[in-house]
């Protein structure tokens, strides 16, 4: 397999002027994501998980190191799409138009655009909500629109920052399974941040721990369980125990997770 993202000796920092200087949030961070791989990232609050996703998405500069991305260029797709920790919808756009946001500027005609919007709306279970304003949605529904918006641009790499954190357990499981299905069908690569170890293990080919001060990737667990997985499958529950044990060793009782 070829790598889609190769991160080499990366460090991030913020100084008072918002420049990447000063003491680092994380440092010496190496990470390779293979094409088609599903990588999950866990770590305490403030470790720099969102910051890492931002640097990969070119939303801020690194203090040091580099990120090499190998993506297919296409006028109908965007190579990377991000699902933010909060839904981040534009309140002045209806649901459909929020989803269309990433498609604007691509060579996607109106028919194709509508078809893609209908598809992703159905995927996230909001088929009948396209014409609503964001303020007419619940928090969880808004978050699902954010996910639909990212899927609509058909990215090679999907960066997801605790996308299911705000959802109830049932919706959460449904969306986990939907995400796995989409991933399986489309062969996208995913970097998925979560605080939930069960989720990290159930979804990931690999679970990474980001921690320490300055943080770095302290552990990487390969999840052996095949696909499709069951949540109560022994290889899954056993891996959850292993990751939890690793976490509590690294972070003294898993504080902050």
């Amino acid at each position: 397999m070829a790598a889609i993202v190769e991160i080499d000796n990366l460090a991030a920092a913020f100084d008072a002027n918002g420049e990447p200087a000063g003491s680092p949030v994380f440092a010496n961070l190496d990470l390779t994501i293979e094409r088609g791989e599903f990588v999950t990232l866990v770590g305490p609050s403030g470790a720099g998980k969102s910051t890492l996703l931002r640097i990969i998405a070119d939303l801020m500069p690194a203090r040091q190191g580099n990120v090499r991305k190998t993506m297919q260029q296409s006028a109908q797709r965007r190579p990377i799409a991000m699902v933010f920790q909060e839904a981040r919808l534009m309140p002045w756009r209806r649901v459909r138009d929020n989803i269309a946001f990433g498609l604007e500027g691509l060579k996607v005609d109106k028919g194709e655009r509508d078809r893609r919007i209908d598809d992703v709306l159905r995927l996230v279970g909001l088929a009948d909500y396209g014409d609503r304003w964001p303020y007419e949605l619940s928090g969880g529904q808004r978050q699902r629109v954010g996910i639909a918006r990212a899927l609509a641009v058909d990215p090679d790499l999907l960066l997801m920052d605790e996308p299911f954190g705000a959802l109830d357990a049932i919706t959460r499981q449904t969306l986990q399974d939907e995400l796995l299905r989409i991933w399986h069908e489309t062969g996208k690569s995913v970097l998925f941040v979560t605080h939930d170890i069960d989720e990290a293990v159930y979804l990931g080919d690999r679970v990474l721990l980001l921690g320490g001060s300055p943080a770095t990737i302290t552990q990487s667990y390969d999840i052996a369980a095949g696909r499709p997985r069951r949540r109560d499958q022994e290889q899954v529950t056993e891996a959850v125990t292993r990751v939890k044990r690793g976490l509590s060793q690294t972070f003294e009782g898993g504080a902050g997770i």
């Binding site: 070119d58 991000m82 909060e86 002045w92 756009r93 604007e104 500027g105 964001p134 303020y135």
Partner: protein, 248 residues
């Protein structure tokens, strides 16, 4: 229910009744306080003499030109200052010096520069409107959600123009429209003052009437202004609510 319009109608009737009673009681001279019952007659005579609509049209012209120029320039300058830090640095002291000068203080210059003309009135009206819109647009653009700008970068809209059209303008729209609405009211307040110096319009007609102690005519024009303001504000609120229907 509809008890509110009922209550305000009752309030208005009581107010007019007390006013009428005081005016008729002879406690105050009728030139100091004309009775409300003489106002319809005064209005009819102003209309039939052709003054009323001539004055309204003249003032409306001053108002609309002043509103247009003041708002356009105010919004453009306010946005430019918020968008370009270098403009911000140059304007900071300029705005601080010019802002506190009331529009009416510009009357001498307006007359020197434009003569006693339509342009002079429009100029004076535009000044107050300019500042309101300027500060409203400045604050509105500065307070656009930075996270939405990051979002727009994340989804490939990284050019200045795309950011302006897709995020900044819609995000700042409520604030900008709020400023425009305040300017709409401010404009009518300065219209009269701007015409007090002989530029033909509602203001000059009021001065004439006051000189003849025809205070009922003065009141007719005061109410005319209130009416014109109410109409323009109501129309604008309709448009605004359409534009901002995305707000709950």
């Amino acid at each position: 229910m509809n008890s509110r319009p009922l209550a305000s109608a009752t309030g208005l009737i009581v107010f007019l009744a007390i006013w009428e009673a005081i005016a008729r009681s002879g406690l105050v001279a009728s030139t100091l306080l004309p009775a409300p019952s003489v106002l319809p007659g005064a209005l009819i005579s102003e209309v039939s003499l052709g003054f009323w609509h001539a004055m309204v049209i003249a003032s409306m012209e001053h108002y609309l030109i002043g509103l247009f120029l003041g708002s356009l320039l105010g919004i453009a300058c306010g946005m430019a200052v918020a968008l370009f830090p270098r403009v911000d640095a140059t304007q900071a002291w300029l705005a601080r010096v010019l802002r506190p000068i009331p529009p009416l203080a510009w009357i001498p210059f307006a007359i020197i520069w434009f003569g006693v003309s339509q342009s002079a009135a429009a100029f004076i009206i535009s000044i107050g409107i300019f500042w309101i819109n300027y500060f409203a647009a400045l604050t509105a653009v500065e307070s656009v959600d930075k996270e939405l700008i990051e979002l727009s970068n994340a989804f490939g809209h990284r050019s200045f123009f795309a950011r302006l059209v897709k995020v900044i303008l819609p995000g700042a729209a409520p604030g900008i429209l709020g400023g425009f609405r305040a300017g709409l009211g401010m404009g009518w307040m300065t219209v009269v003052a701007a015409e007090l110096f002989g530029i033909i319009g509602i203001g000059s007609r009021m001065m004439e009437a006051a000189g003849l102690l025809a205070t009922e005519v003065v009141i007719v024009y005061m109410l005319t202004i209130a009416f014109l303001y109410a109409v323009s504000d109501t129309l604008f609120v309709r448009v605004r609510d359409r534009l901002l229907q995305w707000q709950q």
